[in-house]
């Protein structure tokens, strides 16, 4: 392979993959947050119904 702009080609490909990786990471982060939020809320509701009963 020609070496003249090999370096920048790597930057480009890394950037292209990097953007996607970062987005997938934010998706995974949101997934985790959503799960913990659901659990907290479920616990809250359970406690509340026990209180009422």
């Amino acid at each position: 392979m020609d070496q003249r702009n090999f370096e920048y080609m790597c930057y480009g490909l890394i950037a292209a993959w990097g953007v996607l990786m970062i987005y997938v990471a934010t998706l995974i982060g949101r997934e985790r947050r959503l799960k913990s939020e659901v659990e907290t809320l479920k616990k809250l509701i359970e406690e509340k119904s026990r209180h009422e009963a």
Binding site: D2, M9, V19, Y23, L34, L41, L44, I45, K48
Partner: protein
């Protein structure tokens, strides 16, 4: 299931990287750098398709008032943005080598940046509205306006001279300007990115629906 598809599209992308790095030759005039194009154009097309769908889903939401369309509009816009950014960054790196500058105020570049800004604004508006009904309604209106604005800007583009390279795909040129093996590769990578985008939209859609459930759970939990 979704995650299996996510891994499948990641594998497909890796296979494409392998082929385009090791089996395709360098472009004569540009050298290795031209390989960026395999992400530049497919990224653009995927992002544009996503933003197009934002307008469609927004209109469908206003027509049917079905939450599904609102979540889908949010999902496609958010997924479209990383692809648009991929298009911009790869373009800038290519421009650094071929044009010698990172950025030039060329109409094509400006309008690509502009639509990214508009749809980033759409996502910001969504975050800023606390009430679910109002959020869905107002962002759907914005989605339609953004659609009109982007179409208008691209239309007005044709009146400018541009230094951005002309289209190379056979459907735009009638064939002959691009090597069939390279075009094949382009198609493969477009397919891979589109597949990835579809999976990401599905994941994001599911998250948006769950977020809505959380909102109602929260109301239930905090009501006395």
């Amino acid at each position: 299931m979704l995650y299996a598809l996510l891994i499948a599209s990641a594998l497909y992308l890796s296979r494409n990287i392998y082929i385009l790095m090791l089996q395709l030759p360098d472009e004569l005039a540009q050298g290795p750098i031209y390989r960026i194009f395999y992400f530049h154009l497919p990224g653009y097309l995927t992002g544009a398709a996503c933003f197009l769908l934002t307008g469609v889903f927004s209109a469908l939401y206003l027509r049917t008032r079905n939450w599904k369309w609102d979540s889908l509009a949010a999902a496609v816009t958010e997924v479209g943005l990383p692809f648009a950014i991929m298009n911009l960054i790869t373009g800038m790196i290519w421009g650094r080598i071929i044009w010698g500058i990172w950025w030039t105020w060329d109409p094509r570049l400006s309008t690509a940046l502009l639509s990214a800004a508009i749809y980033a604004g759409y996502l910001m508006l969504r975050r800023a509205i606390p009430d679910a009904t109002e959020r869905a309604k107002n962002s759907a209106v914005l989605g339609i306006f953004a659609f009109a604005s982007v179409i208008l800007t691209y239309k007005s583009n044709e009146w400018f001279r541009t230094q951005h390279p002309a289209p190379v795909l056979s459907i735009r040129t009638g064939g002959g300007t691009i090597d069939p093996a390279m075009e094949m590769m382009l198609g493969h990578n477009l397919l891979a990115l589109a597949m990835l985008a579809t999976v990401l939209v599905a994941i994001r859609w599911n998250q948006e629906e769950r977020r809505r459930e959380i909102e109602s759970l929260r109301r239930e939990a905090l009501a006395y």
